[in-house]
Each structure stands twice: as structure tokens, then as C-alpha cells.
Amino acid sequence: MILRRGGPRAAALALVALASLPLACGGSPASTQSAPPRVVHDDTGADVAIPAKPARIAALAPDLTEIAYSVGAGDAMAGACDPCDWPEPARALPRLGPMIEPSVESILVLRPDLVLATAEGNPLASVRRMRELGIPVVGLRPGRGLAGVASMVRRVGDLTGHAGDGERLASEMESRLSAVRAAARPLPRLKACILVWPDPLVAAGRDAYLTELADAAGADNACAVADGWPTLSREDVLLAQPDVVLLGIADATVGLGAWADSLPAVKRGSVLRLPERPFLRPSAELGRAGEELLAMLAPLRSR
């Protein structure tokens, strides 16, 4: 939601626009590839010139970092945002600042030939400022649900010059999820609440990929009162009377609290923690996540 917003704070105040200093900034980023560069149209509406096979990639969001590695662009990764900590080799990359305020200066020093930015967390103002300084930034707006994740895998594969691997991973994820859906079809449906934060209570909404993942594995999200990640009150959960509570909280020490003890699902022990991997970051790993969720739900159906 963010890339599109904001804007050069300058505009309202620019009573006099200073002549821009002659900055030969960015120059032509060193690319070792001989393939001709291409122009891509990104989700901020900008046309960005990037090499056919970028050699110095910076990713400004954890999911983009993970997907870039998964499609085989790991060798070309040159930098990542502060919280971009997966997979393991990403931890050693130069840090480019928090998602909410990437360091323009650090990115200039890095000289990337492709910067992947997300509309879910990177500010449009920084993206625009980086472009003004000659940095090729491609802004990506994640699509909805599982289809959005698959599409992101394909797009990152294409942008990083690994279109084949992106396509292969995305279709593999889709076929694994289809298999999960087929396996769950004859089973009795479960009523689930998918909660991703306890205080305030935040649930996976109607169009969240976790809701679709649960749906594929045979569980309906009874707490999906809106799109996105809606905030619930405790009584919403108590009234929903879910058969199972899925806790999508990476920190295993964070639980629901005593108020939830009266929930039949909690009494029966039908509270499942979704581990951070493969569940909590949208990537091609969600195919495996669907299979694991199906297996995790199996013993609960007999309760």
C-alpha cells in the first residue's frame, strides 16, 4: 500500500527549485553480462532499465530476499535490508537499513544494478529519491493470496535473470498445493482461527495467503472478518468457536493468554503453532507449508 503513496515532500514547498547539481551519480552500474539491458515497467508506474542478468542485486524486504535466493540469484545478491535474515547466506550481506527507511547512502555506495523494493513496507519517497540518484529500483506490489505469492516468485525470477527457475518453483508450488487441496477434499472441513498476533489480536483476513493455505488443507478461516490482516476483539474469537487455532507467531514464547483457556479448541489442545519456516514468509516454500499443514490437521479431525 505504501509505494504508491507519499511522494516528494518537496513539491509543496519547492517555491524555487534549485538547479540540480551535476551528479554523474550511479553512472553505468558495472554489469559483467554481455546481454543487452532491458526496460521493465514496475508497480509504481516507472520504467526501469536493468541488465538482462543483474550481477549486483539489493533486496529491501525479507520475502524478496528469500525469493531471490530461491530462484538461484544468490550469487548476484549484493545487499539486503536489516531484517532480511533468510536464507543463511543473506545474513552476511551488507545491510541497507530498515525496511521503513532504507539508507539511500548505503545503497549508493553498494552500486547495485537492480534494487527490489516492496509496496508492503518500503516508502515511495525513498524509492523515488533513489531513482533520482540513478539507482535502478523496481517496486513490486505483492498480489493477493497464494496466487500473489506464486506471481511474485515468477516476477523475481524474471527480474533477476532466472525466469526459468522462477517459473519452475512457482508451478511446483502450485501443483503441490493442488495436490494438498485434492487430498483434503474428501475430509471433513475444520473451522479455524488463524491468529498472527495476540495483543492486539490480529487475524489472517479473507484474502491472506494463510487463509488460502488453510482452505487448501481443509480448514475454513472463521475469523476472516475482512481482507488483509484485521484486528479482532477476544469475543470475536470466543464467538467463532473454532475447532482449531492456528498461531502464526514466529516468537514461540508469545501465546494467546489466559482469556483463551475457555475455548474448546484450547481445552482440546487443538492449538497449532505455524513455524516461521515455511509458513510465515510468503515464498515458494508455501507448497511444502500446505503439505505440512494437512499433516498437522489430520490428528485433529478425529477429536
Binding site: M1, I2, R4, R5, G6, G7, P8, R9, A10, A11, A12, L13, A14, L15, V16, A17, L18, S20, L21, L23, A24, C25, G26, G27, G79, D82, P94, R95, L96, G97, P98, I100, E101, P102, S103, V104, E105, S106, I107, L108, V109, L110, R111, E120, G121, P123, L124, A125, S126, R128, R129, E132, L133, G134, V202, G228, W229, T231
Partner: protein
């Protein structure tokens, strides 16, 4: 109220004592690399010096002239605006707790900005600073209308109360937006509210500087009057000051300064409160010195704070201004007990 007369020479000498602070702050901001907490890519100080001198490679020039210098310029302009606004308001309202945010102008700008962010695409890229400026103007008009007493004079008490209460109302509006927005977006709102120079550009810095020039043009004729107004309005009137006109000019300038700074960089707290007080403790309370010195020291303080923001890895600048400014000011307060 007795006070040693401030000759032109002493005025100039004391004011120019603030200049080295600003120069030092600017030098630190331009030369010191960022991202100390992490293994961020860094430009060595040597390369920054080379780029500053007109040499260096493309990257060094882009970092220094494209990122650091405009950023320091914007921080300096905003710091000067907030320091000025704080000094003026403390003088005119005769209230030591007055700061640029008591008039509701900043909350108006912030609500405008957040509404602009939320309305997004419809307004295009320029939406949010324009919306912030509109919010600042609107809030300022409302507060001024409410602050007139039965005789049509601007009453400092009414101004403060109206400003503070309007701020609460506007802050509630902001929280409506924050709580009804998706997580990523509300995080962006909150971050914006704490202030940032991370995307600074030359036009932004120039815009704030121009806003400041307009405000200064309004202020200069009112400066001797401010000195008298700070004692009492009756005193000023006896001395031949056009009290209402001076107050209107000064408060209009303060609204302009606050709106400009907030629209460009978010609501950065603490500068406008603490800088004028620190200046008063060190240089004395003569308005003719206090007002320009607050601008210079506000600029130096915010430039330095933003250098620290870069060094610490882009934390909100408001966090740094309060963390560093409060202990500094308390120490100053403890050392100087004289009025």
C-alpha cells in the same frame, strides 16, 4: 526588568559564536559514514572529503552531493524553522512550555499529511506535502479565530488553550487513520510522525528555506517589539509597539515555519522547545539575539541529530532529538541557576 544593554558589536559577537557549531555539525554530517550498527556499505571519510572538494569517483560524488548534502541542508532548514518558531512562541505567549506544536499547526500538518498518504494516488506524488501544508494553514486559521477575545485581541491564554485542544482533536484524527489502516501503512504513518530526512532532496531543502525566508521577512520588523512583548503587552504598548500587529506577524511566521518543517520532514519534537531555552540560558534573553541564535542552534542541533540517525541506521530523528536533547538541556539547567 533590568538588563545589560546589548550593543551591536556584542550582539554580533554572541550571534557569530553560534556559527562554528553549525559549521561543525554540517562537517560531521557530510563526512561521517552511516550504518555503524550494521555492516552497511560505507563511504570512507577520505572519499567524502575528495568528493566535497570536487574530486572523487561517481559513487562518492553521488553519496556526498546527492544524499548527504541535501539531507544536511534539509535538516538545517527544518532545525532553523523549528528553533525560530519555538523562540517566537515562547516570547509572544510568555510561556516557557510553548513550542512549535502548541498552536495545533503541527497536528494540522500531520493530519493533512496522513490523510494525504491515505488518499494516495488520487493526489499524485505531490499529495502529501501539499496536504500537510493545507492542514497547517487550516489549523492555524482556526486557532487564530478562536484565540480572539471580546475586544478582538489575540489572547495568549486563549491561543494556548485553543491550540492544545485542537491538537488533541487533530491527533485523534491521526489515530483514526492509523488504527483503521493496514499494518504496513500505519507503521509508515507512525514513522512519518516521528520525522525523517531519509529521502531529502534539493527541492525539499530549498522549499523549507524559502518558507523560512518569507517568515523571516515577516519577523524582522517585529523583532524589537518581541523583546518588549516578552515582558508584558502593557509594557510594549507603553513603549509604542503596535501590539496586535506584532503578535499577528510573529504568530503567522511561527505557523509558517512549523508548517514548512513538518510538511517536509514530519513532526520532529523537542528542537523547538529545548533549543530556545538552551540559547536563553547561555546567551541571555534579549529577543534580538535569542531569535536568530535559536535558528542557528536549531539548525546545528538537527543536523547533528540526523548525522546520528544515519550512524545508528535510520532510526526516527525524533527519537534522537529527545534522547540527546533532554539530558543536554537538564544538565544545562542544573549548571545555570541564574535567570
Amino acid at each position: 526588568m533590568t538588563r545589560a544593554p546589548l550593543t551591536r558589536a556584542r550582539w554580533l559577537a554572541r550571534l557569530s559564536a553560534c556559527v562554528p557549531a553549525l559549521v561543525l555539525a554540517l562537517a560531521i554530517a557530510v563526512l561521517v559514514p552511516g550504518g555503524w550498527r550494521t555492516n552497511a556499505p560505507r563511504l570512507p571519510a577520505r572519499d567524502a572529503v575528495a568528493a566535497l572538494a570536487g574530486g572523487g569517483d561517481d559513487v562518492a560524488r553521488a553519496v556526498v552531493w546527492g544524499a548527504r548534502v541535501p539531507r544536511a541542508a534539509l535538516a538545517a532548514a527544518c532545525g532553523a524553522c523549528l528553533g525560530l518558531a519555538g523562540a517566537i512562541l515562547q516570547l509572544v505567549l510568555r510561556n516557557p512550555l510553548a513550542d512549535p506544536y502548541v498552536l495545533g499547526v503541527s497536528s494540522g500538518a500531520a493530519l493533512g499529511a496522513v490523510a494525504g498518504l491515505a488518499a494516495g494516488a488520487s493526489l499524485g506524488g505531490a499529495g502529501h506535502p501539499l496536504a500537510a501544508a493545507a492542514g497547517a494553514v487550516l489549523a492555524s486559521v482556526v486557532v487564530h479565530a478562536l484565540a480572539k477575545d471580546a475586544q478582538g485581541r489575540l489572547s495568549p491564554e486563549r491561543l494556548l488553550v485553543a491550540g492544545v485542544v485542537l491538537s488533541y482533536l487533530l491527533a485523534a484524527g491521526i489515530m483514526w487513520f492509523v488504527s483503521l489502516s493496514p499494518a504496513a501503512e500505519s507503521q509508515r504513518f507512525l514513522f512519518w510522525l516521528m520525522g525523517s530526512f531519509g529521502s531529502a532532496s534539493w527541492p525539499a531543502a530549498a522549499g523549507v528555506a524559502c518558507t523560512m525566508l518569507v517568515a523571516v521577512a515577516l519577523l524582522v520588523p517585529a523583532l524589537p517589539a518581541l523583546d518588549l512583548l516578552a515582558v508584558s503587552e502593557e509594557h510594549a504598548a507603553d513603549a509604542g509597539v503596535e501590539v496586535e500587529r506584532s503578535k499577528r506577524l510573529a504568530l503567522g511566521a511561527a505557523a509558517l515555519l512549523t508548517g514548512g518543517a513538518v510538511a517536509a520532514a514530519g513532526s520532529i519534537g523537542f528542537v523547538g522547545l529545548v533549543v530556545p531555552h538552551s540559547v536563553r540560558l547561555v546567551l541571555g534573553r534579549d529577543a534580538r539575539l535569542l531569535v536568530p541564535a535559536s535558528a542557528l542552534c536549531g539548525a546545528a542541533f538537527l543536523v547533528l541529530a540526523d548525522a546520528l540517525v544515519r550512524a545508528l541506521g535510520e532510526i526516527p530523528v525524533g527519537v534522537v532529538t529527545a534522547t540527546c536533547g533532554a539530558p543536554f538541556f537538564l544538565a544545562l539547567l542544573a549548571r545555570r541557576r541564574a535567570p
